[in-house]
Amino acid sequence: MSVALHPERREHSSNVPIAVETAAMVFCWSFSFFLLHPVPTLLYFPLEHRWGFDGTPQGLAMDWYGRTLASLLLSAVGGTLAWVLMRRRSPVSPEIQDGGLGATVVSLVFVVLVIVVTSLNRHLVPEPLPPWYLPK
């Protein structure tokens, strides 16, 4: 069964990869930024059942949700902007396409390195043991 795209749709979507790669790169760089710089972000306080933007949180706070949400939103905005700007234009040259692909690879490698390095260099502070807690 043929699954080739209709020529009009194919022309229309010729710059989709650029938009997708832009979104991926924006995600990589924004996620890296949030990992490397302790900027105020949305925090979840599991023991207090609340969300907040506290700059220097007291007690147990989780920044993963805020970091994830902010990076995904920025990524979506970046990809959408690229798509809006590129969709009516003729397909970009192969050189630009290859450059975009190379930049995306570099961004992916960079964010993986940042994730590994920052995860291994944390200052761990265990939570105080509550009276009811029995370690197995």
Binding site: P17, T104, P126
Partner: protein, 156 residues
């Protein structure tokens, strides 16, 4: 006892999270092989699109289940135990949770590209698609193995 959000459903959520991961590792690996075929000139486009959407949906569900069980894990497992007794597992989890977001992005990217390209004609897109699929599959395998190792150390 503490009162963490969804704490009473922690084990059920973790079980469903693991079940999603089982489906995901299979679908991702098949998707990986399809994308590898694209690079070798074998274009199973319809199958590629089916796996792309299967992976994206399964990834989204598994990711959401992980996010729901995370508060319980963060306090009861990591905060009280791993950070004190098994630091390696705590660090591994930190890598896993952050890579999971990267995997989500690449799964969505592969889905969009699978719907918009003709791999027999779009050489550039073919490579971009393969890159997203490879990255996402590596993340899934890493996270599945990491998840098993971490839950061997301690679980909710």
């Amino acid at each position: 006892m503490s009162h963490i959000a969804l704490e009473e459903y922690g084990r059920l959520l973790l079980l469903l999270h693991a079940a999603g991961a089982i489906v995901l590792v299979g679908a991702s690996t098949h998707h990986f092989l399809i994308a590898l075929g694209y690079l070798r000139g074998r274009f199973k486009v319809r199958l590629g699109r089916i796996y792309a959407i299967t992976v994206a949906i399964t990834y989204g569900v598994t990711f959401l289940l992980g996010a729901l069980v995370y508060p319980s894990f963060r306090y009861l497992v990591r905060g009280l135990y791993l950070d004190r007794y098994d630091v390696w597992a705590s660090n591994l989890f930190e890598i896993k949770e952050n890579l999971a977001v990267l995997g989500l992005v690449t799964a969505i990217g592969a889905l969009i590209l699978s719907r918009s390209m003709d791999p027999s004609l779009d050489r550039h897109t073919r490579f971009g698609y393969a890159m997203f699929v490879f990255t996402q599959t590596v993340v899934v395998w890493f996270n599945v193995v990491s998840g098993l190792l971490i839950t061997m150390a301690r679980s909710v």
